[in-house]
Subunit: 405 residues, 2 copies
């Protein structure tokens, strides 16, 4: 591969600030009347199971004994029936997990923070794809790692070279962070071969792999691929021997407002994360865990089915509109799931400058791709999310955006 | 004062383990049939406003627009109407806070974690009272401080001596952590003079003060004392100039199951904590914040009134039973609020050994005080919480316990 850009902590810190201010700017944009926004990466609230949630909260508080448990402190590892449900859900995907392999987190973002806290010493190395999910880098950066980008699809620097770079920086390669399915921001998916390459590399480096499965359930075309954790469990023979830590969430399939996600890992890893939870928020809101268990056990399959169909129509509308309206020299990814399409503009067209014009002249918002490239590349890329606008708004938005190019 | 015991990080780590295993043991004890437990420090679920919570959840999900907001992601600083309510609540206590002085946390325990993350570099010094709340030390210890105990009521080592110790350890005094009102584990309250001493010391050391107000609202006798933050705001003229960071919580006045607490501090401090929240769980469950705002704005005064009366009766029962049954040589604190009485047994009587006998012979549980003394002292102390048992059970439990002495 070509030389990997190394994200230095200073870049990561700069990014933190960018993200904070960027989010505020984006929120302001979303308040503009008539704006068509491809900026958010948040789920469509039309999909939220509001009635099922209302019913589950009602049940959780329906009698004094239930309310006494639902409103009290609880155990740091999480509500046992929810952990059991998630264990069975993981088993369906080839990871035989029992409840002691599961810890509940306040969304998978909290899992990222806790893994950074557990695994990273200052100057350790984290391997990632560039671009990748900014929120993960933001979580890890508090613990002062350096980042090195790898491309498991195209071949990598040798393990020895990575090990030496990490040692020269004063630490070691602690883990690789990947969103293998429909990644934020690109919408791209790691091939089976890339997954195997990544696991081989981690094995040779004796490093962990943090698998962020935020969008995994939202596949609406193509063949499902095994998770990194399922592949590693198959290779090593057991979850206890696996080096993969899997972060799941209900935020994209049920609703983010309850802040319920999970970590699935070896029992030894979960035991350490439970101590970290105990020293942080003690436990994820127990009433929300009870409610999520009720919703998931009743509706999870239906909700996923509905979300897939909903987002598939929107993705199709976006891809068709891009094909119909974008001039030559513009290319884009064709995601098989998730919420994002990644657009590459002709060389020399600046995504941030385009956003300024786009908001001003045609009332369309998106996220410039440079924000996801802490090494300074990607100026001519933009991220389009199709999760919130309707198919009609998507078509109109792309038509307007293309008119600027 | 006498030489201050310095808690070394190794002790803190040992404590973490003690607490984890201890909690499991205590939970097991609580499941024994017929046990009278003074062990828990958790609020009495009889006080939880279950119906008001059910009503508020129903309202939060009553129509599609409300549900779309209540189940979505939200801003990291927290729900504005709740921050406004808390700002007004702080103002009633002499701290003129506007919403930008407030950040919502997942209970005040999360505030402790985030403050450790923000303020502590390895080998920095944290000043505390010994014994103090173990969960705070557990939160801070992840960031590898050293601890030094001070006694603001009895005079302290000079600021210069503390500064030199901190420098010799390789850092500086970053903050003092105190629970000024009805502390866990002793139930004791810092006098006005001790509060002033503590603030003077912090000012001379240019250190922050972390005020953990977990039990502050639960005063049921004696005269209310101003919070450390109110005193410092009065002295410095503004919250922006104050060095006190105040941690509040609804866990002891409404219910812990929603995980809603807050930090009140200067806007500069809040802005930094918001970035930390953004890199951790993104935002505290928004539906829980909406529900808490509704409960607090409707019922907070009533709930506090009811809790004060409820716990006052239990404290009175405990103090009366101790006076009636305990043999000479046993002494105890007389808390004016909160949930705990701290009992000192005759020299040579070991609290941990007494617990073993007590559980075995008379079916009574409590927490041995040694657990709160990481420096190895306090073997002859025990913590009794009156929050969960009824007044009758309290009387019977003390009678049984005294029979062992």
């Amino acid at each position: 591969m070509t030389a990997a850009p190394a994200f230095e902590p200073a870049f990561a810190r700069r990014m933190d600030r960018m993200k904070a201010s960027e989010i505020r700017e984006l929120l302001k944009l979303l308040e503009r009347p008539g704006v068509i926004s491809f900026a958010g990466g948040i789920p469509d609230p039309k999909l939220f199971p509001a009635e099922a949630a209302a019913e589950a909260y009602r049940e959780a508080l329906a009698n004094p004994a239930a309310a006494a448990a639902a409103l009290q402190y609880s155990v740091s590892e999480g509500y046992l029936p929810l952990r059991a449900w998630i264990g069975a859900h993981m088993a369906e995907q080839g990871v035989p997990a029992d409840p002691d392999n599961i810890m509940i987190t306040a969304g998978s973002q909290q899992g990222l923070d806790f893994l950074g806290k557990l695994l990273i010493n200052p100057r350790d190395t984290v391997l990632t794809l560039a671009p990748t999910y900014l929120g993960a880098l933001q979580a890890f950066s508090a613990y002062e790692p350096r980042y090195e980008s790898i491309r498991p699809a195209d071949g990598n620097r040798t393990p020895e070279a990575l090990r030496q770079s990490a040692a020269a920086a004063g630490g070691r390669v602690k883990f690789a962070y990947f969103v293998p399915d429909f990644a934020n921001p690109t919408g791209e998916t790691l091939s089976l071969e890339a997954r195997q390459n990544l696991l081989d590399l981690a094995r040779e480096l004796e490093a962990s792999v943090v698998e962020d499965a935020a969008y995994r359930a939202l596949r609406f075309s193509g063949e499902p691929l095994p998770s990194l954790q399922a592949l590693d469990v198959a290779a090593t023979g057991s979850l206890e021997a696996s080096r993969v830590v899997y972060l799941g969430t209900f935020s994209k399939t049920v609703a983010p407002g309850l802040r319920v996600g999970w970590v699935c890992a070896s029992k030894a890893m979960i035991a350490k994360l439970v101590l970290i939870t105990q020293a942080s928020e003690l436990n994820v809101s127990i009433i929300n865990q009870i409610v999520m268990q009720r919703i998931a056990s009743r509706l999870h399959g239906d909700l996923i089915e509905r979300a897939r169909e909903h987002y598939r129509l929107k993705r199709d509308a976006l891809l068709a509109a891009l094909a119909a309206h974008m001039p030559a020299g513009v290319s884009w990814t064709r995601p098989e799931g998730g919420l994002f399409v990644w657009v590459t503009l002709p060389e020399g067209v600046d995504g941030a400058a385009l956003l300024a014009r786009s908001v001003e002249e045609v009332n369309v918002a998106f996220v410039p791709g440079g924000a996801f490239h802490p090494d300074g590349g990607g100026a001519n890329t933009i991220r389009l999310s199709y999760s919130l606008p309707s198919p009609e708004a998507i078509r109109e938005g792309v038509r307007r955006l293309a008119s600027l190019l």
